[in-house]
Structure formats: structure tokens, C-alpha cells
């Protein structure tokens, strides 16, 4: 229950769409979404597979709480092998698409093979068909969604699509649904592009798609959960008002805002690009960047930013398609497009963010790669001739231009589309790439926040803030305050966060609920929705099992403990200013302890005992 118990298997090579029952034994061990799809991927593919080979599979997956009245119950994930990292990729998205897939009667869609020509998948309840997408190839996400809805004359169809970035295999291409929600990281969009799959369009009207195990308990649990979210300062006020952008000034003041490719740790322009700035009236047209906040399906937090640009801004002067409202910058995007390369023009960031949504690429990796390119430029390793224009730190025009080029795969955009690791390697300075496992850091500095450094180094999908959000204890004091520079207790805390996150990511809920919710808030919701025993203990075991399964996959793919590292800059160059001045990462102290609490060998391999205990 809560699962539809149906899997749609789409063979892009033969064009066949078949139905099979969900493996319920696995569902009991891995819950859903991230965990369950990874189990399928691990069981069906060789971890050594080339991410762009037809042998790589790609799975769209929902959780048992997706498409329910549980607050934020609308998430889905895309699981595949990531081309940016060569590791497991699991990108999570909100919007309305996931719930629609569930209403159509599917827990997951497994794509295998690659199509000879561009296609899109149309799912209408139990019916799935691959349709010709040659007319959509070369089109943006926005055009694709509009064209599909129009052609099928159904504005209620939900669409997840790749833009030109995915077609061009930008290594951090995203899959964008509902125009500005994205399965953003690790290049899942490029895998979709490699399969010649332009979009997945869903319309779900089934009323019997799934059932709640105990409706009465479910409403009691979800209503209690909603009250907690409403009463909490972060989820009830901070996020709706400022979105994740609430963090910009906080992190900057704390001295953990990576700036100019992590050369600096505080950004003088932070005020101009943060949550408060989005509310301020622009001198140019007297209007604020932010129009309102928007929610994903079922979300009672509503952290989404909906922005409208200054119509007179240089970047969009003759481009009416950017003058309407659309998804505004979230914190990570504002940081990556702004602080990471020293740009403090909020309108320019908004424009670049629109482009990321419009053509489907990850603003974090893109912005961070631009930051690296700027550093290479300043060092004289990259020239104006190669780029086509000047690219010093702080160049708004440069950042904007690169966003445009990356979106369409032209000029130097092609190189930017490879990501920071490949860029810096190409120009002889791999050490300048601010990445882990080739994936760019998000908006917290691993020197300023020691726990985050460890989280980055050990994240199964490369540098990522969403695998174990140590910002919670280190900045917000959730569930307890931990000093940013302390190392004590952090490996254990991180493990707990990672395991809990794996549970949340497998449930259909949004991770942001955990600003307010603990496992004791989430557990009753899962228990009431799903058949089986879902005690807190068991859920944490599920989370740990998922983490270890992902780890095994990465080891199988050829990664080792040596890849659990941070760039030399974070290990050696002390933070220059602010409260964390002088700090470097103490990863070498924390990592061995982390392996230990994980039950892994000193080389970072799960011991036989751990494997046995978890059954992986």
C-alpha cells in the first residue's frame, strides 16, 4: 500500500513498454524512491558501465508518500550512473510531476537501452507510449513542455524534460519538470540525452492507484506534522519568506560562504544577492525581484521563489520570454552564480538561473565551473582568445554570456559544460577544481564548517549538501548546536544525518521538512501509509542499508577511499577573513573516525560484518 506496486519498464531500443509488479520484498528493505530505485539499478547494471552507454539504465521513481496529503509529499528522484562523477547519481525533484506519476499508477519507470531517434514517453494512466520527438529535439525545456501540453490538448499533463544542455551532454545537465523544478545534480539530464529521450509526460487520473494502510492514523500523523512545520521558525516563517536564501547573509557572516572559487570565504556582495535583497524594490523599475513564494505538490512550507526580472536589465532587453515570472534563485544557485565567481548583480543571477531551468543544467556546477574558469583566467592560464571575451572574477557579462553559451553548447560553453574538474585538468591545474568526485561544491565552505567538509568528502554522489546537512547542527543548532570548527562527534552526527536523509529521500518527502521534523515526526506518517513494520529503528537501518548499498556501487565503479577527499585548497589554504579565519579542513582527523562509525575498514570498505548486518 501507498506503493502502486507497478513498475513501468521502457526499452528505448525496442520501443517496448511493459508492466511488472514492484518487488515488494525490496520495498520492505529499501522503502521507495532513492533506496528502492538504487536497489534496482544495482541489481540490473554493472557499476563499471559507461554512463552514456545504452547499458546504463535510468530510473524515475516516487516514494510511498509521493502523491499523498503528507506535507511535501510530491517528490520523485532520478537514479542512474552519473556522467559527471562516475558514481551513483540520484537527483531529487519536487514540483507536480512525481505525484502525477503516482496517480497514473506507477511507482517507477525504468528506462533501458537508447533510442535510435529522439522520442518522448507519454503516460496516460495505465497506457505508456513512446512518441516521436524529432520536432522537440533542439528545443528548450520550456518550449518542450508547452508543445507537449498543447499537442495533447491537456494543460494538466506534467512534463519532465531535458533542454539543449541534456541533448549536448553537458556533464551536469538536469532534468527539469514543471518548468522550474529540477532533478539537478550529477548530470542525470545528460544520461537522458544519451538515450535520445527528450521528455516524460504524465497524466494520472486513476483513483485506485494505491491505498493508505491506515487512513485515520495517516491523517492524524500528517496533520500533526503540518502543525510542527507551521510552528517552526525555519519552515513556518524563514523559508516561506526568504526561501533557502534566508541563509545567504547568515553563512556569509559566519565566514563559510565560499567566494571566487573558494579563494575567499566571505563575499562583500552577499547582501545584494540574498533573500532580503529579493524583497527590496529595485531602483530601476520600483519593483521587487521576488513576486511571491510557491509550493511544490503538497508542500505546506512553500519555500520556492517566484521572480520577475527587471525588464530593462541588459541581459534580457530584447527577450520577451524572460520578462514573465519564473523560478527565482534559491540559495545554492544564488551562491554559485554569484559569490562563487564574485558576481553581485541579482538580476543577472536570476537570468542565468532562468537559463539553467530553460535549458536544463545545474546552476551549482555551472556557477562553480565559471568560478574556476575565472581563476584560470586571472592566472593567465585561460586567455581572452580562447574564451572569446574577458573573464575576470566579478564579470557579470562574462557569467551571463557563459550561461548562454553553455545552454546551447556553443563556443567556450562547450568547455564549461564539462564541469570544473575537467576544465581545470585541461588547463593544467586540477587542484583548482573545487570538487569532490568531480562534482562541484555547493554553498558552504568545508573549512568554515568542518562537518560539511566531511559530508562533502564522503557524499556518495560527489560534493553535495543534501546527503548529510551538517549546516543544521553547525549553524542552526538542529538537533543540537555544534561549533563549526569542532570535529568531535561530527562523524557520528554525520552518519546519523546521512542515514536519516536516505530515509527521507526514499519516502517521497522533502528533506527541508527536517529543519522541523525529526524521525519521530516522520515515522508515524510512513507507518500509517505503508504496510509493514516501520519503526524508527527499522527506518534508520533502512537508511544505513541504502547508504552502504550506494557505497558498494561506487566501489564497484572503481572509486576508493582515496576519492573521499577535499581539494588541496581546503586542506591547506587557511580561511582569510571572518570568524573562521585561519581554518583549514580537518578531514584527516574526522575521516578515519567516520569509517569506523560506519563499520568500514580504514580503506573505506564496508566490513563483512557490516554487510551482513545490513544485508547488502
Amino acid at each position: 500500500m501507498a506503493w502502486t506496486k507497478n513498475v513501468l519498464r521502457v526499452n528505448l531500443e525496442t520501443g517496448s513498454c511493459t508492466t511488472e509488479p514492484l518487488n515488494m520484498e525490496w520495498a520492505q528493505d529499501y522503502l521507495g524512491q532513492r533506496g528502492l530505485a538504487t536497489k534496482y539499478l544495482v541489481s540490473e547494471t554493472d557499476p563499471k558501465v559507461d554512463p552514456f552507454s545504452p547499458k546504463n539504465k535510468m530510473i524515475f521513481v516516487t516514494g510511498p508518500l509521493t502523491g499523498t496529503m503528507a506535507a511535501t509529499g510530491g517528490r520523485y528522484s532520478v537514479v542512474t550512473k552519473g556522467p559527471l562523477t562516475g558514481a551513483i547519481a540520484c537527483s531529487n525533484s519536487g514540483g507536480y510531476f512525481g505525484a502525477e506519476l503516482k496517480f497514473a499508477g506507477w511507482d517507477m519507470v525504468i528506462f533501458e537501452g537508447a533510442s535510435a531517434k529522439p522520442v518522448y514517453l507519454l503516460i496516460t494512466d495505465g497506457k505508456a507510449e513512446l512518441l516521436d520527438a524529432s520536432h522537440l529535439w533542439g528545443k528548450t525545456v520550456w518550449e518542450t513542455e508547452a508543445t507537449i501540453k498543447k499537442y495533447h490538448q491537456d494543460p494538466q499533463i506534467r512534463v519532465a524534460a531535458i533542454g539543449r544542455a541534456g541533448e549536448n551532454r553537458v556533464l551536469y545537465a538536469a532534468i527539469v519538470n514543471d518548468l522550474h523544478r529540477a532533478a539537478g545534480r550529477s548530470g542525470v539530464g545528460a544520461v537522458m540525452g544519451s538515450k535520445n529521450l527528450k521528455a516524460v509526460a504524465v497524466r494520472g487520473t486513476r483513483t485506485d492507484a494505491y491505498h493508505l494502510a491506515d487512513p485515520e492514523a495517516f491523517f492524524a500523523a500528517t496533520e500533526a506534522g503540518k502543525k510542527v512545520l507551521a510552528a517552526n521558525g525555519v519552515t513556518g516563517q524563514g523559508l516561506p519568506t526568504y526561501g533557502t536564501q534566508v541563509l545567504m547573509n547568515v553563512i556569509n557572516e559566519l565566514g563559510a560562504l565560499p567566494t571566487r572559487n573558494h579563494r575567499d570565504i566571505q563575499f562583500e556582495g552577499a547582501m545584494a544577492i540574498g533573500g532580503e535583497a529579493m524583497h527590496e524594490k529595485r531602483p530601476t523599475d520600483g519593483k521587487a525581484n521576488l513576486i511571491t513564494n510557491g509550493a511544490c505538490f503538497g508542500c505546506t512550507i512553500a519555500c520556492g521563489r517566484i521572480s520577475r526580472m527587471d525588464p530593462g536589465h541588459f541581459s534580457i532587453k530584447d527577450k520577451p520570454q524572460y520578462k514573465g515570472a519564473s523560478g527565482g534563485v534559491e540559495y545554492e544557485a544564488a551562491w554559485a552564480l554569484g559569490a562563487a565567481n564574485g558576481v553581485s548583480d541579482l538580476e543577472a543571477l536570476t537570468y542565468a538561473n532562468f537559463l539553467c531551468n530553460e535549458d536544463g543544467f545545474d546552476p551549482i556546477s555551472f556557477g562553480a565551473t565559471v568560478g574556476a574558469a575565472m581563476e584560470l583566467y586571472e592566472l593567465g592560464l585561460l586567455t581572452k582568445e580562447e574564451i572569446g571575451f574577458e573573464l575576470p572574477f566579478g564579470s557579470t557579462e562574462g557569467m551571463v554570456r557563459l550561461a548562454e553559451l553553455t545552454a546551447v553548447g556553443e563556443g567556450f560553453g562547450k568547455v564549461i559544460g564539462l564541469g570544473s574538474k575537467r576544465l581545470c585538468t585541461k588547463y593544467g591545474r586540477p587542484d583548482l577544481s573545487m570538487t569532490v568526485k568531480s562534482q562541484e561544491f555547493p554553498a558552504y565552505d568545508g573549512r568554515g564548517l568542518q562537518g560539511m567538509g566531511l559530508a562533502y568528502a564522503t557524499s556518495n554522489r560527489g560534493a553535495c549538501h543534501l546527503r548529510g546537512y551538517m549546516v543544521s547542527p553547525e549553524v542552526l543548532g538542529i538537533p543540537m548546536k555544534m561549533e563549526p570548527q569542532a570535529t568531535e562527534g561530527k562523524p557520528a552526527m554525520l552518519k546519523a544525518f546521512q542515514d536519516l536523509t536516505a530515509v527521507v529521500d526514499s519516502s517521497g518527502l522533502c528533506l527541508f521538512t527536517t529543519f522541523a521534523w525529526g524521525l519521530s515526526d516522520i515515522q508515524p506518517q510512513i507507518q500509517a501509509a505503508c504496510e509493514g513494520d516501520w519503526s524508527e529503528e527499522r527506518l534508520l537501518l533502512v537508511g544505513e542499508r541504502i547508504w552502504n548499498m550506494e557505497r558498494e556501487y561506487n566501489l564497484g565503479a572503481g572509486l576508493t577511499g582515496k576519492d573521499d577527499n577535499l581539494p588541496p585548497r581546503l586542506m591547506k589554504e587557511p580561511a582569510k577573513t571572518g570568524p573562521q579565519k585561519g581554518a583549514v579542513s580537518k578531514l584527516d582527523i574526522m575521516l578515519p573516525e567516520y569509517y569506523q562509525v560506519r563499520g568500514w575498514t580504514p580503506e573505506g570498505v564496508p566490513t563483512a560484518e557490516t554487510r551482513m548486518r545490513l544485508g547488502v
Binding site: 502523491g67 483513483t207 516561506p240 520556492g304 519564473s326
Partner: protein, 158 residues
């Protein structure tokens, strides 16, 4: 005084809790295709407008019905579809000039808001109080104008 649904689109975030609540209340499913209230998204304007039947005085749907399948609830003032009687001819769906009574292919019947017997599930579920159930002396077209005045979706008026 009879109550009516009052909708303030400015408060709506597009979370669709109301749609799920409506579908659940009436059909024990979260599938929002079964909801009688619809949140229309105005992407270009960055706005969400929840919309359902205003229980208008004219009740075009009710008078057009050839088989007497839509009835007035004397307590709430709602016009209620009697599913067993409805033959699915859809004439009410074109008679209502607001587009708020719709055909449901699965059941072969039409559906519209019935005010949940005076305890609207959508209003209860809305986390932002964009939907409330309030005493109101304005009805029908005036109700529409009340909402619409706040929708601010026509650039001509912005």
C-alpha cells in the same frame, strides 16, 4: 446567513492540498483529477488562482439538467449532483458559464462542488488561509468579481 467559500488568490502557493482534500473527501483518493476545486497556475504572472463553483443564484447547471439530477441543498445553498440520477449527458457542463461543473469519464457522471455539507474540506486543508468559509451576502457573479478583483492576472490592469 448562508456561508460561502471565499478565495484569496494572493495567499495561494499552489500546493494543491485543497485539491487532494477535495478528492479525498468525496472519493477517498488523493488523485487531484477528482477534485472539484482547481488551482489554476498563471506562470507568466507568478500567481495561483484556486477556483470552484460559486453556488451561483442562477444555477444554470441545475436548470439545464434534463433529469433533475442537480438539487439545491436548502441548508448550505449548494447545488448538489445526485450521482445515481445523473445520466452523464454533460449539458450542465456547457450551461454553466463558469466552467465549474465537469464531466468525469471514469464515473460517466459530472462533478461539482457541494460545499461538503457545510464543512469544506478544501478550506480546512489550505495551509495559507487562501480558502476560507465565511458568511457572505454577495453571491454569484459578485462572488466571482470578488475573487477576480484580487487575482491581478490581467496585465492590462497591472
Amino acid at each position: 446567513m448562508q456561508k460561502s467559500l471565499h478565495i484569496d488568490p494572493n495567499k495561494c502557493t499552489g500546493c494543491l492540498q485543497c485539491e487532494m482534500a477535495c478528492a479525498w473527501e468525496n472519493y477517498r483518493t488523493f488523485t487531484i483529477a477528482k477534485s472539484r476545486i482547481k488551482v489554476f497556475s498563471f506562470h507568466h504572472e507568478g500567481r495561483f488562482v484556486p477556483y470552484t463553483c460559486t453556488q451561483c443564484d442562477e444555477a444554470w447547471c441545475m436548470t439545464a439538467c434534463p433529469v433533475d439530477a442537480i438539487q439545491l441543498d436548502p441548508v448550505t445553498g449548494a447545488k448538489i449532483v445526485l450521482e445515481p440520477t445523473c445520466v452523464g449527458c454533460k449539458v450542465c457542463t456547457i450551461a454553466c458559464p463558469f466552467g465549474t461543473i465537469n464531466y468525469v469519464a471514469q464515473t460517466g457522471k459530472v462533478q461539482k462542488c457541494d460545499l461538503c455539507d457545510g464543512a469544506p474540506a478544501c478550506a480546512k486543508a489550505c495551509p495559507t488561509a487562501a480558502i476560507t468559509y465565511v458568511d457572505a451576502d454577495w453571491t454569484g457573479l459578485d462572488k466571482m468579481r470578488q475573487w477576480a478583483g484580487k487575482t491581478d492576472t490581467n496585465p492590462a490592469t497591472v
